[in-house]
C-alpha cells in the first residue's frame, strides 16, 4: 500500500471535534481499516483534541493540527499544539468510584486513548507538543498494550 499523509487544522474549540472525527474516519476508511479500528481511532483522536482544548489552550483561536499518516503497517495520527504540555509520567489510571464520589466527571480521556490504541506517545519539541496515536494495521507487530511513552 502506498504511503499517504493528510492534514487538518482546527481552532481550539469543541464545536470542531465532529469535523476531526469525520476527517479521521474518512482516511481510516480509505485505508480499509475494520469498523472497530475506525471507531477506536475516531474516539482516541477526539479525546486527544478535547484534552488540548480543555487543558493546553485558553484561547479558542489557537490551532490544533491533526496529521494522518498511512503506510502498509500502521495508521498513525499526530496531534500537535503549542499550548501547555501534558506530562504522561504524572498520569495515573483513574478510579471510577472515586470520580463518582467526587461528583466531578472527567479524567478518562487518557485512559481511553491508551485502551483503544496500540501506541500512545507524547513528545515536545520547542514550543510544539505532539501526541502520536498508532494503530497497527494487521497482526499488530509492535503492540505494547497501549502503553504511554
Amino acid at each position: 500500500m502506498p504511503e499517504s499523509a493528510h492534514s487538518l487544522s482546527i481552532p481550539s474549540a469543541a464545536q470542531h471535534l465532529g469535523k476531526v472525527r469525520r476527517f479521521v474516519e474518512k482516511h481510516a476508511r480509505e485505508a480499509r481499516l475494520g469498523e472497530e479500528a475506525i471507531a477506536h481511532i475516531k474516539m482516541a483522536v477526539d479525546e486527544a483534541c478535547a484534552n488540548i482544548i480543555e487543558h493546553a489552550y485558553d484561547d479558542a483561536r489557537q490551532k490544533i493540527s491533526v496529521l494522518v499518516r498511512v503506510d502498509s503497517e500502521r495508521f498513525t495520527v499526530c496531534i500537535r499544539d503549542q499550548g501547555r504540555s501534558f506530562h504522561p509520567e504524572s498520569w495515573s489510571k483513574p478510579n471510577l468510584f472515586r470520580i463518582a464520589e467526587s461528583r466531578r466527571g472527567g479524567g478518562l480521556g487518557v485512559q481511553i486513548m491508551r485502551s483503544l490504541m496500540d501506541q500512545v506517545e507524547y513528545s515536545t519539541q520547542g514550543d510544539t507538543n505532539e501526541v502520536r496515536l498508532t494503530k497497527f494495521r494487521c497482526g499488530e507487530p509492535g503492540r505494547n498494550g497501549g502503553k504511554t511513552a
Binding site: 474549540a13 469543541a14 464545536q15 471535534l17 465532529g18 472525527r21 471507531a39 475516531k42 474516539m43 477526539d46 479525546e47 478535547a50 482544548i53 480543555e54 471510577l96 468510584f97 470520580i99 463518582a100 464520589e101 461528583r103 466531578r104 466527571g105 472527567g106 479524567g107 478518562l108 480521556g109 485512559q111 481511553i112 485502551s115 483503544l116
Partner: protein
Amino acid sequence: MGRHEKPHETIGNMSNFSVGFRAEAHIRILDLKGELDAHTVSELEAALQKCREDKNHHIIVNGEHLQYISSAGLGVFMAYIEEMREAGGDIKIAGLQANVFNIFDLLGFPLLFDIVEAEEEAIRKFDADRNEKNDS
C-alpha cells in the same frame, strides 16, 4: 394514553445531539440521540440539571439512538450518579448500541452503573425497587 405514548419534549438542538424527555410514572426517561462529545455534553448536563431541579431522581437514559459518546459524556453520568442514589433514585442506562456499550464496558462502567438491554427492563427494576421499599 399508553405507557410509551407520553408527550415528547426535546431541548437543545444546536448540533448533532438532542435529549428528549419522557415521563413514566415517577421515572424520567431521557432519550439521547446523535453524537455526545465535549461540544454537545452541555445539553446532557442541562437535562440532568432539570431532573435535579424537578426532584426527579429516578432516571433512565435510553441510548437506542446514541451513535457516539466520548469521555465528556461519560463524565456527566459520573458527576450525577451519587447524588441520584443518595436521593433514593438511580441513573439506569438502557438500549445502548453495541459500539457505544463497548466503550462503557471498556472503562468498567458496568461496575458502577446499572446498564440493561431494554428500557422496559430498567422500568421493571425501578418498579421492583419501589415495591420493595413500600413493603419494608
